[in-house]
């Protein structure tokens, strides 16, 4: 039962974060790029205030998979880096925290560009 509820909460919280994004798309003239930027900054701010991590603990991937979770990861990584390295941490914390996701996207992007030859539109606008 716990296992099922875990997925239910991941679905509900993740779905809600996406529904908010859809509201922004439908009701404003914000482009997808701007929405992603807003989500990341919101994630950093909420993470810095200590408000996002409880949501991650509660909803798991429902909170960590949306891009606000990416922002929260940046904030948590920054906190750890400053605790460990002090001033230098300001310059290393952000990239250290998001390195896995960004490296994966870059490397897989490059490989895909070489392997798949497509010229039509595959991006979400």
């Amino acid at each position: 039962m716990d296992m099922i509820m875990e997925y239910v909460w991941a679905f509900l919280v993740g779905g809600t974060l996406c529904a908010i994004g859809q509201l922004l798309i439908d009701l404003t003239k914000l482009t997808p790029a701007r929405i992603l930027v807003i989500y990341v900054i919101s994630g950093v701010v909420l993470g810095a205030l200590g408000l996002y991590q409880p949501l991650v603990d509660f909803a798991g991937a429902g909170a960590s998979v949306p891009l606000t979770g990416f922002g929260n990861l940046l904030a948590q990584g920054m906190k750890k880096a400053v605790e460990r390295d002090g001033f230098l941490g300001i310059f290393t914390g952000g990239f250290t925290a998001c390195s896995a996701g960004v490296t994966a996207a870059m490397v897989f992007g490059l490989i895909c560009a070489v392997v798949f030859k497509r010229t039509d539109r595959t991006r979400q606008e």
């Binding site: 991941a10 509900l12 940046l74 996207a105 392997v115 010229t119 991006r123």
Partner: protein, 155 residues
């Protein structure tokens, strides 16, 4: 197909078409779709997190491997042209999860391969991801300064 017509217009024309149609989009259709598909992607993430935890990784590593896995899946879906098809229905449901971020990197990397691997693929892959990384890193940087100041004053 209707979508193909839109492909061949200039950016400005596309924007005006987009805005004209987005004004008519029906919230009672788009919102539940975004909710359901976005929620489903998060459930896939939850599944992989559990799998990696089961394999013995700690929570932090399991989360990182989950991100990598979702990015890989998104890259494959984008490569086969499937991501955009789902995105047509899902809207923010496929945009907001990390798979949307991956799609925003992989898609222009593919599209602009025709302009070469350096100024095409490598340069254009950051057309959307770049701003996300810049503002994400910058806001984390500001937070870092705040933390250092708090630390300096013995917080």
């Amino acid at each position: 197909m209707k979508g193909d017509v839109i492909l061949n217009v200039s950016k400005k024309e596309y924007e005006s078409i987009y805005q004209k149609h987005s004004g008519k989009s029906k919230l009672y259709i788009t919102i539940p779709k975004a909710f359901a598909i976005g929620g489903f992607i998060c459930c896939i993430g939850e599944f992989f997190t559990n799998m990696y935890l089961y394999m013995g990784f700690d929570a932090e590593k399991a989360a990182a491997y989950t991100s990598i896995t979702l990015v890989l899946l998104s890259a494959l879906f984008t490569g086969f042209g499937l991501y955009e098809r789902i995105a047509k229905h899902a809207g923010a449901g496929t945009l907001v999860p990390i798979t949307g971020f991956a799609n925003a990197v992989v898609s222009p990397a593919l599209e602009f391969h025709t302009e070469g691997l350096v100024l095409g693929t490598a340069a254009k892959m950051f057309v959307i991801a770049g701003p996300v990384i810049v503002y994400g890193i910058f806001s984390a940087f500001v937070y870092g300064i705040v933390l250092v100041i708090i630390k300096a004053f013995g917080g």
